[in-house]
């Protein structure tokens, strides 16, 4: 059986008449971008806090932070997603759970996916932040303390401004991963890029065109993120450090 290529398929009006199939792809792309970027913000904020706590000279705090990281790293993303989407709403106090379930289904999917992806990624960001802090020469912390700064002040004014700059290059791959991992969220019915691609196959029976289009979209995201991170790296580079090339 010969396959009939038809690139014009993207310009056809969709089966439910809400624009063309190309519009479907762009809608999916928008969802992927919105989901990944909002999850990335959560991941950076939570990951920075947890990463700092992992280096804290306090047993309870560093244990809690380590437990947090191990928890999110040793359970598959798909299982975590089902937890946030199916399990947690049942376990919350009835009022909160019911409020969540009364929301627009698309909003439910998006919130669950965003929180899931954000926390999942935060554990990885935390590891990078921790290794950034540990990479600082020990003298920096001692110097801060010797100047009479308290430990939180030393973190705030001496160590973190350096550590956050060192951590930017290794964060590039985590940033790329957020976009790739967001495709997992198609499993709870969220119509992001990969899901739109699949839907296109169901409606048009043109799997190869759809496959190529989705792949190109992910490649484009990759290229843009890499360029963006390269600019950021150049901006925050610490003179005199390796990688300050």
């Amino acid at each position: 059986m010969e396959y009939q290529w038809n690139w014009g398929v993207f310009l056809l009006p969709s089966a439910v008449n809400d624009g063309t199939y190309l519009d479907w792809m762009f809608a999916g792309l928008k969802t992927t971008l919105a989901l990944s970027l909002s999850a990335w913000v959560i991941a950076l904020l939570v990951g920075a806090v947890v990463g700092v706590l992992r280096t804290a000279p306090h047993r309870g705090l560093s244990f809690a932070a380590t437990a947090y990281v191990e928890m999110f790293r040793n359970i598959p993303l798909l299982v975590q997603l089902f937890f946030w989407y199916f399990v947690l709403p049942e376990m919350l106090p009835a009022a909160v759970g019911d409020a969540f379930k009364a929301m627009n289904p698309v909003a439910q999917q998006f919130i669950a996916a965003m929180v899931c992806l954000g926390f999942f990624t935060s554990a990885r960001v935390a590891e990078q932040v921790r290794s950034g802090i540990n990479a600082l020469p020990r003298g920096q912390k001692n110097a801060g303390l010797a100047l009479g700064l308290t430990l939180p002040q030393t973190y705030r004014h001496v160590m973190l401004p350096m550590a956050f700059r060192l951590v930017v290059p290794p964060l590039t791959s985590e940033f790329l991963n957020v976009f790739k991992n967001s495709a997992v969220c198609s499993t709870i019915g969220l119509l992001e890029l990969a899901a739109q691609g699949r839907q296109l196959v169901d409606y048009t029976a043109q799997p190869y065109e759809s496959f190529v289009a989705v792949t190109v979209a992910y490649l484009a995201i990759n290229v843009v993120v890499m360029l963006l991170m390269r600019k950021t790296e150049a901006l925050v580079r610490v003179p005199g450090y390796l990688g300050g090339k």
């Binding site: 790293r73 040793n74 359970i75 598959p76 975590q80 009835a94 495709a183």
Partner: protein, 229 residues
């Protein structure tokens, strides 16, 4: 904080057999993807380091392409496209169950891109003098690779390869998209059947956590011993 939900774990004991079979499927896919990934990944890594430019470009293109797209997408496409292709290619009767085979092929092709990068770094970590010494002893390039460079490279890479294996094991849960009953797929089916999705998702998460945490602690221990040696 645990609202009004009443837990009922009674559907798990009776389904342990089914869940166990699912776990075997997950482990099977993991094992095959590791073996295929390392073999194909080694070839890709060597191609990428080759002095024959088109070969190096092709390998780099393959690795970068697979590393840029999500695994779910690859599995989805292998689920949608490859079964039809395999049927016509191998002359199987239509409707034969090639889901497991296509999931495995998808995994192997995808993971080999990640293994290729680990192995490339491993090969590059071997001092250049080793290859020169092997050549000086009269070994051909394949001999030098096989007997001198790769054994040392793999020794350096073992912890990274094992860590990647743990990630891979977690990733096998994504064959859920092809409706295969791997461990998570089996747990989902039981939960869906009995209306006990909450318990089964928690149970599956706990099992994955115990297995992966134990494995990663073992890798860490092994890594320390390797560094101490």
């Amino acid at each position: 904080m645990f609202g009004s939900y009443e837990f009922d774990w009674s559907s798990i004991p009776g389904s342990l057999n089914f869940l166990g079979q699912g776990l075997m499927v997950s482990l099977e896919i993991t094992a095959l993807a590791i073996v295929a990934g390392i073999v194909w990944g080694t070839l890709l890594a060597m191609a990428r380091l080759s002095s024959i430019k088109p070969l190096a470009w092709a390998a780099a293109g393959y690795v970068n392409l697979f590393r840029a797209i999500p695994l779910v997408m690859v599995l989805l496409w292998f689920f949608l496209i490859v079964p039809k292709f395999l049927e016509s290619f191998l002359g199987l009767p239509p409707g034969s169950d090639v889901r497991l085979a296509s999931a495995m092929i998808g995994f192997a092709l995808f993971e080999s891109a990640y293994y290729a990068e680990i192995i490339r770094a491993g090969i590059q970590s071997v001092p250049k003098g080793q290859l020169a010494a092997a050549h000086a002893l009269g070994m051909s390039y394949p001999q030098a690779m096989l007997h001198v460079v790769l054994p040392q490279a793999f020794r350096n890479m073992v912890p990274l390869l094992l860590t990647q294996a743990i990630i891979l094991f977690q990733d096998t849960s994504l064959v859920y998209v092809s409706a295969l009953a791997d461990f998570f797929g089996a747990a989902y089916k039981v939960g869906d059947r009995d209306g006990r999705l909450v318990e089964l998702v928690l149970f599956a998460g706990a099992v994955y956590f115990v297995l992966c945490f134990a494995a990663s602690q073992a890798v860490r221990h092994f890594q320390k011993r390797l560094q101490g040696a």
